[in-house]
Amino acid sequence: MKIGILALQGAVREHRNALLQLGVETVDVLYPRDLEGIDGLILPGGESTTVGKLLIRYELLDPITESGRKGLPIFGTCTGMILLAKEIIGSTQPRFGLMDIAVERNAFGRQLASFEADLEIPALGSVPFHTVFIRAPYIEKTGERVKALLTYERKVIFAEEDNLLAAAFHPELTDDTRVHEYFLRKIKKR
């Protein structure tokens, strides 16, 4: 199995390390040709406006959108979740628009509101997951096909829709690989 990591900007190294720990081969995605032969794609955290512009400049926006429509499993964290969303509230910034969710950017506030907390995620078992939120977004609205995997303060922060998985928090900043494993299981189920 080979997983691509969108490497235009952001926390690429952390996702790579998480996958290496799980014995999975990774490839940095910088050009459309890097998408060839991958079994899944991770969209890491970073700055969504920056990544969006670079996606257009390097002609990655359309090929990734196309692959996602055809069923390529894609997992977005934070910025990655924003890029997956059909609607980004109050913004026209570039996105893949693959997932039927409306996302609010910087929804918890500026950096001083960034937080960590142990949250129970039923899909990952009974041991709470240590979640890290950094200037994080949340999902304001979900479409019919979207399944909420975790709700916190009445907001959806972890969800899936068919081949797509989105988290408002950063599992790559902890040593717990259960979210990554969950994504790998999604890939294997295809």
Binding site: A7, L8, Q9, G10, A11, V12, R13, E14, L30, G45, G46, E47, T49, T50, K53, L54, R57, Y58, C78, T79, S91, R105, N106, G109, R110, Q111, L112, A113, S114, F115, E116, A117, D118, L119, E120, V132, F133, I134, R135, Y152, H170, L173
Partner: protein, 298 residues
């Protein structure tokens, strides 16, 4: 789910924001209009300040924290993180910036130091700090005080990249020394670097600095920015280099692209075309020691 303990201002969320900025460009801006140009160009954050370093250098006088009104104007203008500078050792300027809900504080040698002996104890704050360093010892001292991110000092406001190169090369050389040492030698190395022993052990374990390390101080062109990435920096601060050039919007965008694709020389050639004059700049070799900002702080 009623008893969830939510922790803010932790080491992890402070360092985590720096991780999210990796591979990006942070730009100095002096008003909301410039901040919008920077965001539009793809900056990952902006640094709000009253005068860019080259103006501080030219005009002289005491350089202090910026007017809160100006900082608030910039916070309203953009959705990306907004950073601001406090003078070295100026605890109150830092508290004021934290009260303004700033995303990151730069305890910066570009401003006139308020304390010539002590740096701010940054672990006392919930807001993350970035600090300048010229070598591994200085970087680890700042991290020991709680800095969540390091940048090379370079020589701000000159447009001459030589000092930034010197500083990252020194950090790299010091790290190699730690990596090549036996456990028995590490305490002596810590003593010689003037670095906390525990942090030297962390460097040995990780094979790199324990926090994100950006380049700063003299970067003026897309090629300069890519050079700093090639030398191992995680991202780049550009101060006077953008808004003191002929075509700030175009140059800003070119630098963002050069950082994202720093290994692609063809692309850097492409984005470097027709940018107009870079900032005129000043060779560091012709500066007198008293005019160098990098010597401030220890």
């Amino acid at each position: 789910m009623t008893d969830i303990k939510k922790e803010t201002g932790t080491d992890k969320v402070k360092k985590g924001l720096a991780e999210m900025l990796k591979g990006g460009v942070i730009m100095d801006v002096v008003n909301p209009e410039q901040a919008k140009i920077a965001e539009e160009a793809g900056a990952v954050a902006v640094m709000a300040l009253e005068r860019v370093p080259s103006d501080i250098r030219a005009q002289g006088g005491v350089a202090r924290m910026s007017d809160p009104e100006m900082i608030i104007g910039i916070q309203k203008a953009v959705s990306i993180p907004v950073m601001a500078k406090a003078r070295i050792g100026h605890i109150i300027e830092a508290r004021v910036l934290e009260a303004l809900d700033i995303d990151f504080i730069d305890e910066s040698e570009v401003l006139t130091p308020a304390d010539d002996v002590y740096h701010i104890l940054k672990s006392d704050f919930k807001v993350p700090f970035v600090c300048g360093a010229r070598n591994l010892g200085e970087a680890l001292r700042r991290i020991g005080e709680g800095a969540a991110m390091i940048r090379t000092k370079g020589e701000a406001g000159t447009g001459d990249v030589v000092e930034a190169v010197r500083h990252i090369r020194q950090v790299n050389e010091d790290i190699q020394r730690v990596l090549g040492a036996t456990p028995m030698e590490l305490m002596t190395i810590a003593k010689e670097l003037g670095a906390p022993y525990e942090l030297v052990l962390q460097v040995k374990e990780l094979g790199r600095l324990p926090v994100v390390n950006f380049a700063a101080g003299g970067i003026a062109t897309p090629a300069d920015a890519a050079l700093m990435m090639e030398l191992g920096c995680d991202g780049v601060f550009v101060g006077s280099g953008i808004f003191k050039s002929d075509n700030p919007a175009k140059r800003a965008k070119a630098i963002v692209e050069a950082v994202a694709h720093y290994k692609d020389a063809k692309l850097i050639a492409e984005v470097s075309k027709g940018l107009g004059e870079a900032m005129r700049g000043q060779s560091v070799a012709q500066l007198e020691d008293k005019d160098k900002m990098a010597g401030r702080g220890w």
